[in-house]
């Protein structure tokens, strides 16, 4: 084995961009990811222990009895490490967790799309001396839309027509996509929100102009703006309040039936924050389609075995087997020489071919500057290397 340094022209840095496509279907309170119905396990549960539409993040628990699930735990210590399900105030509360107590985290950790419905009303609490007797509180879930104020307004710089303005007081419907689905951002122009009524497409939203603005492409107000998409955050902000069905009403927000709109889009998706008091809605179904953007840094390395190089091996079988009795003297130690095994095959029987330097390259090792082996590339088949042959071995390392 011999070491050879990569020259700058031997290394090529690239970024592969993958765009995984996702399709979420929502109907009657159930969410399905990419039309997948999860398989039942042998222990009265799903094999991945998550519901349809969820993704199990580590998949440690596969097809296990309910009382034999892997779970995580940690002792409360001075490093103050805790699972995210335990808030700082809970962690500090000695009546709940004392130092040395075990904090547990049930598995599987999972992710799925979620919905946040923000009612219209005051954006922030009004608590001043003027109304100290009758302070008013912000409407439910307002903190979620307030948190997006800077994000939405920063898009104004890109010349988009959708700004925060009075969004804080309006009725808003947020569809949230976890980052595990879309990677670094949702692919621009890939969003498609479909609203079906009794199986027929009644309305559709698309980010037609690749600028995040969601236009109604099918429906009663085709061409109107019904919301916006925050690509980097994986959030769709829906505000279109017009009716999407002719004469059709359902219990989207309470026992009282109302007409469907983009504000009721996604009824049946699990909600975050104050829940929506929707009832059984079976006539409406929804589809959330988008593509993610997954960037994969890639390093391509060209290992060049030139003529006259790499024609020797330290593999023990490279040399002929021979008793290696060493001779020692008072000031010397010498081993007897060994010959390189001649592996040249003669075309004739009972005849030994003349010796040629031949090696077979089976692996390429990648070393760092301190000569630590950090990666190995193995060839599908060893290649025959002779002094008058040269090879270029191309290797790719994905991060």
């Amino acid at each position: 084995m011999s070491l050879k340094r990569f020259e700058p022209q031997d290394l090529i840095y690239n970024t592969l961009v993958a765009k995984p496509s996702y399709n979420f279907t929502i109907h009657s309170g159930s969410v399905y990811k990419n039309d997948e119905v999860l398989t039942d396990g042998d222990f009265s549960n799903k094999i991945k222990h998550v519901s349809d539409g969820d993704v199990s993040l580590h998949e440690l628990n596969v097809n296990r009895p309910a009382d034999s699930l892997v779970y995580g735990f940690i002792e409360k210590g001075t490093t103050r490490y805790a699972y995210r399900t335990i808030s700082t105030s809970q962690f500090d509360d000695a009546s709940q967790f004392q130092y040395g107590n075990v904090l547990t985290q049930s598995y599987p950790a999972k992710a799925s799309i979620s919905r946040i419905y923000v009612k219209s009303g005051p954006e922030i609490d009004d608590r001043t001396f003027a109304n100290i007797e009758t302070p008013t509180a912000a409407a439910s879930n307002k903190k979620y839309i307030r948190a997006l104020k800077n994000v939405i307004n920063s898009r104004e710089l890109l010349g988009q027509s959708f700004t925060y303005n009075d969004l804080g007081t309006k009725e808003v419907n947020l569809i949230c996509i976890p980052g595990i689905f879309y990677g670094s951002k949702i692919d621009k122009g890939s969003i498609e929100l479909n609203h079906y009524i009794t199986g027929t497409l009644a309305a559709q939203l698309k980010d037609t102009n690749n600028d995040g603005v969601l236009y109604e492409s099918v429906g009663p107000q085709s061409g109107s703006i019904a919301g916006m998409a925050l690509y980097e955050q994986g959030i769709m902000v829906l505000t279109g309040s017009w009716s999407l069905g002719t004469g059709y009403t359902d219990q989207f927000f309470s026992a009282a039936s109302v007409a469907p709109s983009w504000l009721s889009f996604g009824t049946g998706i699990s909600t975050v924050g104050t829940a929506v008091d929707s009832r059984s809605v079976v006539a409406s179904s929804y589809a959330v389609n988008f593509k993610g953007t997954n960037k994969i840094p890639t390093l391509t390395m060209m290992a060049f075995a030139e003529k006259g190089e790499h024609n020797f091996s330290n593999n023990p079988s490279f040399l002929e087997l021979k008793s290696t009795t060493a001779t020692t003297g008072s000031q010397s130690y010498s081993q007897s020489g060994r010959k390189i095994k001649n592996i040249v095959k003669s075309p004739y029987t009972h005849q030994s071919a003349s010796f040629h330097n031949i090696t077979y390259i089976s692996k390429v090792g990648i070393y760092d500057e301190n000569k630590n082996l950090i990666a190995i590339a193995t060839l599908a088949n060893p290649v025959k290397k002779t002094p008058n042959r040269d090879y270029l071995i191309k290797m790719r390392l994905d991060f």
Binding site: T39, D42, F43, I47, K48, E59, L60, V62, N63, R64, P65, S68, L69, V70, Y71, G72, F73, I74, E75, G77, T78, T79, R80, Y81, T88, Y107
Partner: protein, 470 residues
């Protein structure tokens, strides 16, 4: 973020810590030896060097690899025979695992696994062992010391292996683990003491005048007490030394009554299921494996021949039966852990199937049947894994006269500080939302976000504790 505000950390502003995260890993035997996809969950290879166990049919992309099982012996084992099936493979397996886990002695020879981990002594070597290599997915950085336990079925009947259980643990390893292995730290696996038992199957009523003698082990673990019973006719008496041949279970119920009135009543526990009576010694230990002299017609002992004598089985002492290598995630178990019959003594071990005793398996079979037999007898495995989380904690101190201004574009409006609400006489004020950690070359390396902005003005000082895990 005020990107013009840099402050260098002093040595006292920085400290390191290590946190140990754990996961509890239960491996119920139903995954591998029960009725659930047992065959599809276990992958065999044509080389037969080991078998791989998965938690789901291994052809599915959902399946996780759980552990591998392999068997090996060395040349000092009673089972070693150069002509036995796959002897060289079993020998190679033992040698390769031993050189990795046990290392070499001063002469350069591979050391044999030692029961108590003291390699300077001879005579307590494990020369016929099973290797259970757990997946790195489950072990993570290492197995938590003192958390490992394994229940193996040791009942004689292959079809009902869990009638007797040998519980093997690394109890007390937290403070007494060994460090003389090249593979890292290891603990001694100890089996629990076991009580001997025998089952009588009354397939039909015995004959009048037949006798049986049962010997109970006393509490000192050495002395015994015997009781003999004679069979009487239908409607005969049932007392301390005789029982009637009729009644429930072909006389089995009367036998139970007689045992309860006998001198060994306190030395044994008796249960009856139909015509099967199981007698279990109250006291543990190998001395409980006493002989049963019987000529009861139509009654077999431990599945033996009717009217023949038998013995109590499975009485055992607590003893070391293997090693658990914490960082390597490998358990090494001497084959005798599967039953009271010491394999080293050259008698049949209690793995295998009803037609084939296990000595036959080990000597004359490839490794696959041996590994199958072992997997079949796993009732439960439980351990906790450990992940080391190294952290550096930076104490970011904002003194009273620091960080009271921001270069955030929204900080100013018409050259006035927004958050001062145009009160010119108010002291400067800022709201810290983010801490950036920079390299010596002022390259942004990490960003820490506060859960809520903190007000900073000349009247207060902040210390923000930023932890960087890696």
């Amino acid at each position: 973020m005020a990107n013009t505000f840099f402050k260098s950390f002093a040595e006292s502003d920085r400290t390191s810590s290590r946190t140990l995260l754990h996961e509890a890993i239960p491996i119920t035997g139903t995954l591998v030896s029960g009725t659930y996809n047992a065959n599809d969950n276990v992958k065999a290879f044509s080389h037969e060097m080991f078998k791989s166990v998965y938690d789901y049919p291994y052809l599915s992309s959902s399946a996780n690899h759980i552990f591998d099982v392999s068997y090996g012996f060395d040349t000092t084992s009673d089972y070693y025979n150069a002509t036995s099936s796959q002897a060289s493979k079993k020998l190679n397996m033992y040698t390769q695992m031993a050189q990795v886990l046990a290392g070499f002695d001063t002469s350069g020879s591979v050391r044999s696994f030692d029961t108590d981990g003291n390699y300077s002594t001879d005579g307590d070597k494990m020369n016929s062992v099973f290797f259970v290599s757990f997946s790195r997915l489950l072990v993570k950085d290492e197995i938590k010391k003192g958390s490992f336990s394994m229940q193996l079925g040791t009942a004689t009947a292959y079809e009902e292996p869990f009638g007797a259980i040998n519980t093997i643990t690394d109890v007390s390893a937290l403070t007494s683990y060994k460090i003389n292995s090249p593979a890292g730290e290891f603990g001694i696996l100890n089996q629990s003491a076991g009580t001997a038992y025998a089952s009588f199957n009354f397939t039909n009523s015995p004959v009048i005048g037949n006798t049986v003698t049962v010997i109970g082990l006393q509490a000192d673990g050495t002395n015994t007490t015997s009781a003999s019973f004679t069979v009487t006719g239908n409607g005969g008496t049932t007392d301390a030394n005789e029982f009637a041949r009729n009644g429930a279970g072909n006389g089995a119920a009367n036998f139970v009554t007689a045992l309860a009135a006998s001198p060994i009543a306190t030395l044994v526990t008796v249960t009856r299921d139909g015509n099967v009576v199981t007698i279990t010694q109250t006291n543990t230990g190998p001395n409980g494996n006493t002989a049963i002299v019987s000529n009861l017609a139509n009654v077999s002992i431990n599945g033996g021949t009717a009217a023949a004598s038998g013995t109590f089985v499975h009485g055992r002492s607590a003893a070391g039966v293997g090693h658990i290598y914490y960082q390597a995630g490998i358990a090494v178990l001497t084959a005798s852990a599967l039953g009271t019959t010491a394999m080293a003594a050259g008698t049949p071990a209690e793995i295998g199937n009803e037609e084939t005793d296990d000595r036959f398996l080990i000597v004359n079979s490839g490794s696959n049947p041996i590994n199958d037999a072992f997997i079949h007898r796993i009732q439960n495995i439980q351990f906790n894994n450990t992940t080391e989380l190294n952290s550096t904690i930076y104490f970011c101190r904002a003194n009273h006269n620091e960080f009271n201004y921001s270069s955030n574009p929204t900080y100013l409006s018409d050259s006035k500080i927004v958050v001062k609400a145009n009160e010119l006489m108010m002291p400067p004020r800022s709201y810290a939302t983010t801490v950036g950690l920079y390299s010596a070359d002022n390259e942004l390396l990490a960003v820490a976000k506060l859960s809520e902005p903190l007000r900073k003005d000349p009247t207060n000082e902040l210390t923000l504790r930023v932890r960087l895990d890696y």
